[in-house]
């Protein structure tokens, strides 16, 4: 069992539950775990690794009080960060219409503001052999220069003995084509099954094929890259897309970056007035200015001499567009640098590195002019960082970024793709799924920016932002509006009652106490459980005569399962009033739902804390020691792009303490990550 715990690679600072053996500070389990029956109890973080240093009240520059610091690293921009950055750098607005083909995806043309492509089904050709034993049948026509010679790329049909037919297909562009079949390389005949013919000029006739396409509309390029950048990889247990260690550049990335840079540069030429200092082509003086000015914004720092001359030369020789492309494929743009400069036995991030870290953390994009100006001036001490942080939190982009943070933290982005059985639940289409996701991001945004600001409200809110369809799914009379949330019934409260959560942690055709219970343990409590033993059974089949709770009964009756599942299922049972898509139900398999559960082994609560339903579960979690501490962990992970290890343990612990000091205010926690010494210093 120990090895199974280890494989999860979970960091020290997270509270690893070795089932029945208590939380594991070092990610290992002791002998005899399998037989242990005691419940894990949260013992609180250790105090090792904290030196006696403390806040420096005078200079605003707090010295690191932790003896260990996170390592220096390069952080590849995520797809979201890339897109936001180029949008902000070149003042690009999301397009809804096109003005030219350049605004359309490859192969599409702009016609009256819409991007259109002509879609053509492949053309099929077929010839009945009629019992003849031909060796070959080629297709020759105006589309392939009438070649019957295999060495010249003739198109060969293949023979199917059962049907006694030769057949094949070719992707032909729209147009009119003449063709013949060539039998055994010598015998040219028209297609006997095609009535359309034309004189072949040799006294015979050619078959004529008219290929027409269907015109389909395509969305214009938003900023030129769409989803073309490769998806991020992330280690297990790390919920965000910005893991620094996983951010590797492959040849596939390079191709995608080059394509995206090309598209962005084309789009940026439309908005040149907003960002281009002068036209550099053939103008060496302007080219230097261009390189310095645009390069500083793209690379988020002043250019080195080598960079200046490199980009200026491209700008002067090849023009602004190619120079922008070159900047956008530069490693200095693609990686956020957290390298720093030596200061004693550690490294202090440069002001420009801090400006980038601050901006990407809070608004998900590149630093703005004010931040860059202070970085240029070397003015980013802790106090200035805090002022910029508070300023940026007022930026509308911060709301979007916070919503994205919440969706990733909770793992609810998958509601957009997770399969649902529409035979059971009706249409769960893209628009309804988008509403489900929006409900969650909107609540987080509202609580953080407009509500109490407190973490607790995420779990206890008795209101939510639902549209008409979601209201119908929830059985609400009123949907509320974008600004006015709808009141929720007693049965549903906070994030735990959101369809995005309930649907993401369920199967296509049934709820899942295990997935929902694990969601609470992992995302909300930062507790990791080992994999099930090799001989664990699967999910019990849907049984029309048994409730979900009854079907999962083996998990508590079988001691081999109960060791772990006592921490999982009794939490998940609390969600049982909600089906696999988040709809409310009074009955399961014809019997009344029992949504009572227990939350075992959580600090700050009684042992085996009982509850019924998600509203009570949310309230319990809000009172627990772990849930807010876990949230601080998640914010630390997100800010640093790391699944924390021993090097981060002290910093994470201090961040959790700081969260309590600010009365669990979400935005203050983000500010605290920015002002913490670990934000500025590296090992």
């Amino acid at each position: 069992m120990g090895s199974r715990v280890r494989v999860r690679g979970l960091a020290l600072a997270a509270f690893v539950v070795g089932c029945g053996g208590g939380p594991r500070a070092d990610g290992t389990a002791t002998e005899g775990d399998e037989d242990a029956t005691t419940l894990p109890t949260f013992t609180g973080p250790s105090t090792t690794g904290i030196s006696s240093g403390g806040a420096d009240e005078t200079g605003g520059e707090q010295e690191p009080s932790c003896t260990s610091l996170p390592p220096r690293q390069l952080r590849l921009l995520t797809r979201d960060e890339y897109e936001a950055s180029v949008r902000d750098l070149f003042v690009l607005e999301p397009r809804t219409t096109c003005k030219s083909d350049a605004h359309c995806p490859a192969g599409a043309q702009c016609r009256e503001g819409a991007c259109e492509v002509t879609v053509v089904a492949p053309s099929s050709f077929s010839l009945a052999a009629g019992g003849e034993r031909w060796q070959s049948v080629q297709l020759a026509g105006s589309f392939n220069a009438w070649t019957p010679d295999a060495d010249d790329g003739a198109w060969s049909l293949s023979y199917d003995a059962a049907a006694d037919r030769w057949s094949g297909e070719a992707p032909l562009a729209p147009g009119e084509y003449a063709y013949k079949f060539v039998i055994d390389g010598t015998d040219w005949i028209p297609d006997p099954e095609n009535p359309q013919t034309a004189d072949d000029g040799f006294g015979g006739s050619n078959s004529v094929l008219t290929v027409v396409g269907d015109v389909e509309e395509r969305p214009p390029l938003a900023f030129g890259l769409g989803d073309e950048l490769p998806p991020e990889s992330r280690p297990p247990g790390y919920p965000f897309d910005n893991n620094a260690a996983s951010g590797l550049v492959t040849a596939t990335h390079v191709e995608a970056y080059m394509r995206a840079a090309h598209d962005v540069a084309r789009l940026a030429s439309d908005t040149a007035d907003a960002w281009m200092p002068c036209a550099p082509l053939g103008d060496a003086g302007c080219a230097e200015t261009f390189a310095d000015d645009v390069g500083r914004r793209v690379l988020r720092r002043p250019l080195s001499d080598a960079e200046r001359s490199r980009f200026a030369e491209v700008a002067a020789d090849d023009g602004a567009e190619i120079a922008v492309e070159a900047m956008l494929v530069s490693s200095a743009f693609l990686y956020r640098s957290e390298i720093g400069t030596p200061e004693g036995d550690r490294f202090r991030l440069t002001d420009h590195e801090m400006a980038a870290a601050l901006s990407y953390t809070l608004v998900g994009s590149t630093p703005d002019d004010a931040l860059l100006a202070d970085a240029d001036a070397g003015a980013l001490d802790a106090q200035a960082l805090e002022e910029h942080a508070r300023r940026l939190l007022d930026d509308p982009r911060a709301r979007v970024a916070m919503g994205r943070f919440a969706a990733a933290w909770l793992g609810v982005e998958q509601i957009e793709t997770v399969d649902k059985n529409e035979g059971l639940y009706g249409p769960i289409d893209a628009s309804l799924r988008a509403s489900m996701l929006a409900e969650t991001t909107r609540l987080f945004e509202h609580v953080a920016f407009d509500g109490s600001g407190r973490f607790e409200e995420l779990l206890t809110a008795d209101y939510s932002f639902v549209d008409a369809r979601l209201a119908a799914l929830y059985g609400l009379d009123d949907a509320g509006t974008a600004d006015t949330p709808a009141a929720l019934p007693d049965t549903r409260a906070g994030l735990l009652g959101h369809a995005s959560v309930l649907g993401s942690y369920a199967y296509s055709d049934q709820s899942s106490p295990v997935r929902r219970g694990l969601f609470v343990r992992r995302a909300l409590l930062c507790q990791e459980l080992p994999d099930p033993p090799p001989d664990a059974g699967g999910v019990p089949e849907v049984d029309p005569n048994a409730t979900t709770r009854e079907r999962f009964d083996q998990h508590s009756s079988d001691p081999a399962c109960a060791g772990c599942h006592v921490f999982i299922d009794p939490v998940g049972f609390g969600f049982e009033h909600f089906d696999a898509v988040g709809g409310y139900r009074e009955q399961d398999a014809g019997k009344p739902v029992d949504a009572s559960g227990t939350l075992a082994g959580v600090g700050g609560l009684e042992e085996d804390a009982p509850f019924t339903g998600v509203a009570e579960l949310g309230a319990l979690l809000a009172q627990s020691d772990e849930a807010p501490q876990c949230f601080a962990h998640q914010v630390y992970r997100f800010t640093h792009g790391r699944l924390e290890t021993e090097e981060d343990a002290c910093a994470v612990e201090q961040l959790g303490e700081r969260f309590a000091e600010v009365d669990f205010d979400i935005l203050e926690l983000f500010v605290a990550t920015i002002t913490a010494p670990e934000f500025r210093y590296r090992q």
Binding site: E169, P171, R310, S330, G411, V418
Partner: protein, 446 residues
């Protein structure tokens, strides 16, 4: 069913959103510059992965229903392997290899060891080791295509291809995007003969930038930057040598619609197979991985229309079926579905072999004769999750390096030895592979 009918039935699944369907019969073959086949080695390696194991030895001790047997000099196939009936002579059924004790019983623990041979995935996988050696002269060193391999934001431990210790790559799940990458730029369709000066300028600048960064950082993050540099050089080579790139005439792309609709997965798998074969047939790449879904898969295989798995009234997931119970009970829904699911994956592997067999190799013979192909999954039995007696099948004659049509019994040796043997088949000499540094297995090749 003939090829044309098969295409028709497949096209029924295609949504017709892209420019056309595959036109495989009509591409032109050009001879790649280097011939390993002439030296008696494989021209290429293809790894075909499917999720969640097989029906192996049951928890109650019943014998495996997967492993092929020796039957008086010929191969005895089991029902799960039966879709390979016509390909028996092209296969080596590899029994008796173990992935070692670490994390035995775990899906993720198996997936991370599968191609790395290293516990916890803390090593480079064999596909990458060969991409940068035997495959380094190909325009695309490494192909990594998937079918719903990133379903629902799959974490990295669900992916099997490791370019470096502890870091896996996410496969490209969209055949249209993969096609664009392979054929949309430089290669395919008779591309330009002169390098695009714009792309040359941009890639040169990127190389200079990276070089600056490398020298300014010293030892920090050097592994990451070295990988980045290799990636830039690979693309640089494609840009600057565009005139000598192999040309694949008139390649099309299969339009598959929503690649995350389970109903489309059979079409996606076949499209990724077709693309891999097409790209390799004209020398664009020597090393490819096709990852179908991922371990503990939620893939609703009951929505595969036109297959025996199809059951619109019931949602059967891969992982759900894999927990078929303690015994081989044909009366169990899960067991029956699980067996059919395995047959489906083996059938797609058979399709891959068929495509390789019917495609002439530019160096002579068929592609299959000059390939080494591995079919694998991350555990043996899907219910017990053992990492022993792993269900591997090798195929292709590897340019003469591997005799086929037999069962190989590994006798409990580490599977890392098989990974080392793959290198041998590709003409590379690896003393050993994996954290056990297991040498190539005696008798596996030859």
């Amino acid at each position: 069913m003939n090829a044309f009918q098969r295409r028709l039935s497949r096209r029924r699944l295609l949504s017709g959103t892209a420019a056309g369907a595959l036109a495989l019969p009509f591409f032109e073959l050009l001879t790649p510059g280097r011939s390993r086949a002439a030296e008696g080695f494989a021209q290429r390696l293809i790894v075909f992965y499917f999720p969640d194991g097989v029906v192996g030895p049951s928890q109650d001790g019943e014998a495996s229903l997967w492993h092929a047997t020796h039957q008086g000099g010929s191969v005895g196939l089991t029902p799960q392997l039966e879709p390979l009936a016509e390909a028996v002579d092209d296969c080596v059924f590899v029994n008796g290899l173990t992935m070692g004790p670490a994390d035995n019983g775990s899906h993720p623990g198996g997936a991370v060891k599968l191609l790395t041979g290293v516990d916890g995935g803390q090593g480079e996988s064999i596909d990458h080791a060969l991409a940068r050696t035997a495959g380094a002269d190909a325009p695309f060193r490494h192909l990594l295509l998937g079918a719903m391999a990133n379903q629902n934001n799959a974490s990295g431990d669900k992916h099997i291809s490791y370019p470096s210790a502890g870091n896996s790559l996410a496969p490209q799940d969209d055949p249209a995007a993969a096609f664009e990458l392979l054929f949309g730029g430089n290669a395919g369709g008779g591309g330009p003969s002169e390098p695009d000066p714009r792309r040359v300028t941009v890639i040169d600048a990127a190389l200079d930038d990276l070089s600056d960064l490398q020298s300014s950082l010293g030892s920090v993050e050097q592994a990451k930057l070295a990988a980045h540099l290799e990636a830039l050089r690979e693309v640089e080579s494609r840009i600057k040598n565009v005139g000598s790139l192999p040309t694949c005439k008139d390649p099309g792309v299969a339009a598959v619609g929503d690649v995350y609709d389970p109903a489309n997965v059979p079409a996606v798998v076949d499209a990724q197979i077709d693309l891999t074969v097409l790209a390799m047939s004209c020398g664009l790449s020597r090393v490819g991985v096709i990852q179908c879904s991922h371990h503990t898969s939620d893939l609703l295989m009951s929505r595969f229309e036109g297959t025996p798995l199809y059951d619109p009234g019931f949602d059967m997931r891969s992982h759900q079926a894999s927990h078929y119970g303690p015994s081989h009970n044909p009366g169990s829904n899960e067991f029956a579905a699980y067996l059919e699911q395995r047959r489906f994956w083996v059938g797609r592997f058979a399709y891959l072999l068929q495509r390789l067999r019917e495609t002439p190799d530019p160096v002579g013979g068929t592609m299959l004769e000059n390939s080494v192909v591995l079919m694998c999954t991350e555990v043996c039995d899907g219910n017990t999750h053992q990492h022993h007696d792993m269900p591997f099948v090798l195929a292709g004659q590897a340019g003469g390096a591997m005799s086929t049509g037999r069962v190989f019994d590994g006798g409990g040796q580490r599977h890392a030895g098989m990974l080392a043997s793959l290198a041998t088949a590709m003409g590379e000499s690896f003393a050993g592979y994996g954290d056990t540094n297991t040498p190539p297995l005696a008798g596996l090749l030859g």
